[in-house]
Amino acid sequence: MSDAPATAVRVDRAKRREKARLEARRGARGPSLGALPLLSVVAAVGLLLIALGNNAAREDAAGATTLFWAGLIAIYGPIAYRLLSASASRAERIGLVIAMGVALFLVKVLYSPIGYPPFDELATWRQTHDLLETGRPFTSNPIAAGFPGFPGLETTTAAIVQLTGLSIFHAGTVLIGVARAGLMLALFLVIERISGSARAAGIGVAVYALNPSFLYFDSQFAHESLALMLGATLFLATVAWSLPKRLDARTSLGFVGAIVLLSWVVTITHHMTSYLLAAFFVVWALLARLASRRHSPANSADSRRPARPIGNRGRPSRPAARGPIFPAVLLCSTTAAWFVFVAGDDTIEELGSVFSGAIDSVLRLVFGGSGPKTLFQGSSQHNTTLARAFAFASVIPLLALLPFALRRALRVRDPLWYALAAVALLYPITLGLRLTLSGTETSQRASEFVFVGLAFYAAVLITELPSPSRRIARGLLSNLSLAGLATVMLLGAFIVAELPTTRQPGPFLVGADARSVGAQGLAAAQFADRHLPQNSRILADRPNGTLLGSYGGLDPVLGRIDGIPVARVLFRERFDRVDRKVIRDDEIDFVVVDQRLSRELPSLGFYLEPDEPGAFTRDEPIDAAALDKFRLETELNRIYTNGPIAIYATSGVGLR
């Protein structure tokens, strides 16, 4: 008898053992990261396209915007598509949202890779620099009145600078980059915990990235960028503490400790984030209280049956101590205490002007006095028809989502879902503010909070679409359509948020914040830092004032003195008695004159500040003669010039 059958059996067994061993090894491995490595490479190529596009924009070369848009699409589109798929593992989804968030943050870094052009960032730079120089965090800030009262970002940045030797710019960039990654992860985890789905969490974060502030405003070295991450972590800790039915006492105590620390750090970092988060917790707590009262045993129709609290699907209710009430009371207390004892004046000065401007604009729009702002248009710039279409495309789907979100919330009947729906329903109001002249800033600041609610419901509703696994091809097409729509919305949101001249760097422009920062302005700031007394008061246009107020260590002066706008000193054709009064009474030490202001209208609509005479309504730039008058005025000493920029000392005014 031959051994062949026995040999075949042995080979079979060996193959089965090998197969089992391989399967055991695979099972012992961690979850797969799927397409994350490939999509990370694609996103990096997107960044490369944006860098090349920005360089072309600096030289006004052809193809700049094409490269830029292609780069954005490459970063966002493929990742959004993969997050929509049902096959990605949880670990892969987490990696993808972090990669997306960090890549979109780097888009902002590529705009200004060697310094901080925009207004808020230079104000934060000044605050941090003063902290490093003096060792004190609450020094006054002439660029942004509200900054001294909220030292969380500056203190952390100063610690990084002191301990690592990095410059303020690099330390701030690293910190905000880490905060961005943390924000994406925190949002993912909070949506996952509430919805119960990792797929919903990934989609939710991708929808959150569609808020107009996400690309530039929330990536800048400013208080809100850090506070968003801290606020999201506080929200996550609250949800993680509140939602579970059972939590051992030690872990519960740990969450209480974390919530206390996070509440304080959010409070000392940014006013709006702490106020809005406190308001959200209060709404959630009230809804939870209402829900528990309605379903208490005393109110039950059949008192023999135990009451079923809303939203927990009949499971035993959690102890009343765990819930949104404690974080609501705590955050309200910390914000109130901080306002009363530390930052009240700073907050009123900063937020007061923002909100009063917005309210004033709304009232004037409603009752007459001013027309609506032309959407998607700056003072001298226009968007193309295609760009406007994209901008509308970024808004319509989110508005259409709202009734479905409300219906979904009413079905679940959970206080937290109600609270998130209430947040989402604020979206149309924030849109309306964009129709007003001064409401855009309020709308922009509100969007990153409102989008948490929108993102949550978009995620839940999308994951509840008919299961793609039954009709694979249709599922793929559906995911492709959704990813394409989301990408269009990302581009449209960016068009809404940024004027054509502020989307990419480029040649010098008048009154265009980042586009108005050039070598001469930086040289003047460097001169001031070395040769002029620190904290001298200066009158200057906004970009030069911000540079001199930060890198130059001087104090730009704005507003009015005795009811007279200080800006008139720059605008009038003759240096007259009233100008002398303004300079004397407001103790202005230097006047900074940039001859380029007479070249063109300011891109943002104003030269010095939004409520200067003629702001947003000029049809001609400043007369060159108005800027030239300083050269002929004997009471003013022209102590510095580098061509277009001259600095005049006012020490002679009033002495003759």
């Binding site: 960044l47 860098a51 100063a158 991450m229 974390a258 020490s651």
Partner: protein, 237 residues
């Protein structure tokens, strides 16, 4: 300090304090790894910002103060965490498996980081190129002495900055009234600055001080300074 040193020291601020705090607040196995990662970063920022806020009431915030406070916090929290772990010896540590990254995937991630770094380098070069494309010279005449704020009396600093992008020759003349006080001729390399301080005794005469910078034989920049008239006569003493 080099980027490498910064990379090594950065976790001292952004990771270690939060890691110790999270370990003290949440013993092993009480929360999942993803939540712990978020808390590590957020609590590190808490530790830095809140300790700085408290300490500035008593001392100026300096490198030593930051280092001492963060080290104290980290060690203290680590000791609490260790004590908690000792009190719960039977608690199993939930260690979910780390995601699996095959060699090709690892290579792709490294490539992604490298491409991103190249993108940043390209953008940086472009930004510097744009700044360096502006060619100009700057001239200044700044009083340094009393009276008042800002000062408006001697001594006076006269200075020139070369941002022409190449070595440039200058002629600088300083006049007061009809008199030429000083004339300098010099060459500056690209990016260099030159200045001179003039005492009161060197500024005799009446009328405004006028500095004129000639470049390539033609008048290029002009600044003028009228010293405080209350000092007239003081310069002659």
């Amino acid at each position: 300090m080099s980027w490498l040193a910064a990379a090594v020291l950065l976790p001292l601020v952004l990771v270690l304090p939060g890691y110790a705090l999270a370990a003290a607040l949440f013993p092993p196995g009480t929360i999942d790894r993803d939540l712990r990662i978020v808390l590590v970063v957020a609590l590190s920022i808490c530790a830095t910002a809140l300790s700085g806020l408290v300490l500035q009431l008593f001392v100026d915030l300096s490198r030593g103060v930051f280092a001492a406070s963060l080290a104290t916090l980290t060690i203290g929290a680590a000791l609490v965490a260790r004590r908690e772990r000792a009190r719960r010896p039977g608690r199993s540590v939930s260690r979910g498996r780390l995601p699996h990254l095959p060699p090709a995937g690892l290579l792709a991630m490294v490539a992604a980081i490298a491409i991103s770094a190249v993108a940043i380098a390209i953008a940086t070069a472009g930004a510097n190129r744009q700044l360096n494309a502006s060619h100009f010279s700057a001239l200044w005449l700044v009083p340094q002495g009393p009276p008042g704020f800002p000062p408006n009396g001697p001594p006076v600093i006269v200075g020139v900055s070369n941002r022409e992008g190449r070595e440039t020759g200058y002629r600088l003349s300083l006049r007061r009234g009809a008199s030429t006080l000083r004339v300098w001729r010099f060459r500056l390399a690209a990016g260099d600055e030159w200045d001179a301080t003039l005492a009161a005794s060197e500024l005799r005469g009446a009328g405004p001080l006028v500095a004129r910078l000639d470049r390539g034989g033609t008048a290029h920049r002009r600044v003028a300074l009228e010293l405080d008239p209350r000092l007239e006569g003081v310069a002659d003493e």
